[in-house]
């Protein structure tokens, strides 16, 4: 069982940098789905350590460096 990370993290996308390559949805299919034009729709908070690992895979896979992890929504 994976425990909830202490600081909740969130996967984010820079929509300008993103070119809809779609690798993120392949390596993190539980967190990322693609819209009809191939651009990612991201799962909100990453609730488990496994989800964080999966998100890191997506961040590393992106050829445009358009994805990153950050502390869950402090902006709202």
């Amino acid at each position: 069982m994976s425990r909830s990370p202490e600081v909740r993290q969130q996967l984010r996308v820079d929509p300008v940098a993103c070119e809809g390559v779609g690798l993120c949805a392949h390596v993190a299919d539980r967190l990322v789905s693609l819209d009809p034009w191939g651009y990612p729709i991201l799962e909100g908070d990453l609730r488990t350590a496994a989800a964080v690992r999966e998100a890191r895979r997506a961040v590393r896979a992106c050829p445009r460096r358009a994805l990153w992890l950050e502390e869950a929504d402090r902006r709202r």
Binding site: P15, E19, P36, W37, G38, Y39
Partner: protein, 206 residues
């Protein structure tokens, strides 16, 4: 970002004058005029002053990415931001666009979404691709195509665009669409039922 109106107000404040109770509005009708109104002036008084004889069916507040509101809802309201906010409305950039009784709100909305799509900076995929799709869905609804799914499709397309741009340009379009569905609810039903729209080709904007 400061506009001339803001700077003019600041200059008056800096000279020790009390805050102004007026604001500038752009009113887009047959003529496009800029007027200075007191914040107690109502929408009804504004249009009467500008020589409108016939009451409009609705007004678009805040510009092309703004909010539609039925005329009956706003006619008695003052042109003051706090009062409008309390009613879920806003003047936004200070643009008021009355829709005449003889115009089609759905066709006009579809034309506005098409215009907003053409104005996309095309930096973000959801905006560059999503707004043209949203414009297609809005036109389909206006033309009574797609039956009962037309509204669903329009809402789905709006959901795919909203909040997914680096700027809020696409969000203006989804706000416009959502307010159109509420304001022109009766027209939506009539268009989908295949009843001919008498205002079919009467689109004055953008």
């Amino acid at each position: 970002m400061h506009n001339v109106e803001t700077l003019a107000r600041l200059a008056l404040l800096a000279r020790g004058r009390p805050p102004t109770t007026t604001r500038l509005l752009s009113v887009l009708g047959a003529d496009r005029v800029v007027v200075e109104v007191e914040d107690v002036t109502t929408f009804g008084q504004l249009l009467a002053e500008l020589g409108w004889v016939d009451r409009p069916q609705a007004v678009l507040l805040g510009g092309y990415g703004g909010l539609w509101a039925p005329w009956d809802r706003v006619a008695h309201l003052p042109l003051a931001e706090p009062a409008l906010r309390a009613d879920g409305l806003t003047l936004g950039a200070g643009v008021v666009i009355p829709l005449t009784e003889g115009a089609c709100g759905l066709r006009t909305t579809a034309a506005l979404v098409r215009y907003l799509a053409s104005m996309s900076a095309r930096q973000c995929g959801p905006c560059a691709f999503g707004l043209p799709a949203l414009a297609d869905s809005a036109l389909a609804l206006a033309e009574g195509r797609g039956g009962e799914h037309a509204v669903r499709r329009l809402l789905d397309d709006a959901g795919l665009v909203e909040g997914r741009g680096a700027c809020h340009h696409p969000d203006g379009a989804t706000r416009l669409v959502a307010s159109a569905l509420a304001t022109f609810e009766a027209d939506v039903a009539a268009h989908l039922a295949g009843r001919p729209c008498p205002a079919r080709d009467n689109v004055l904007l953008p």
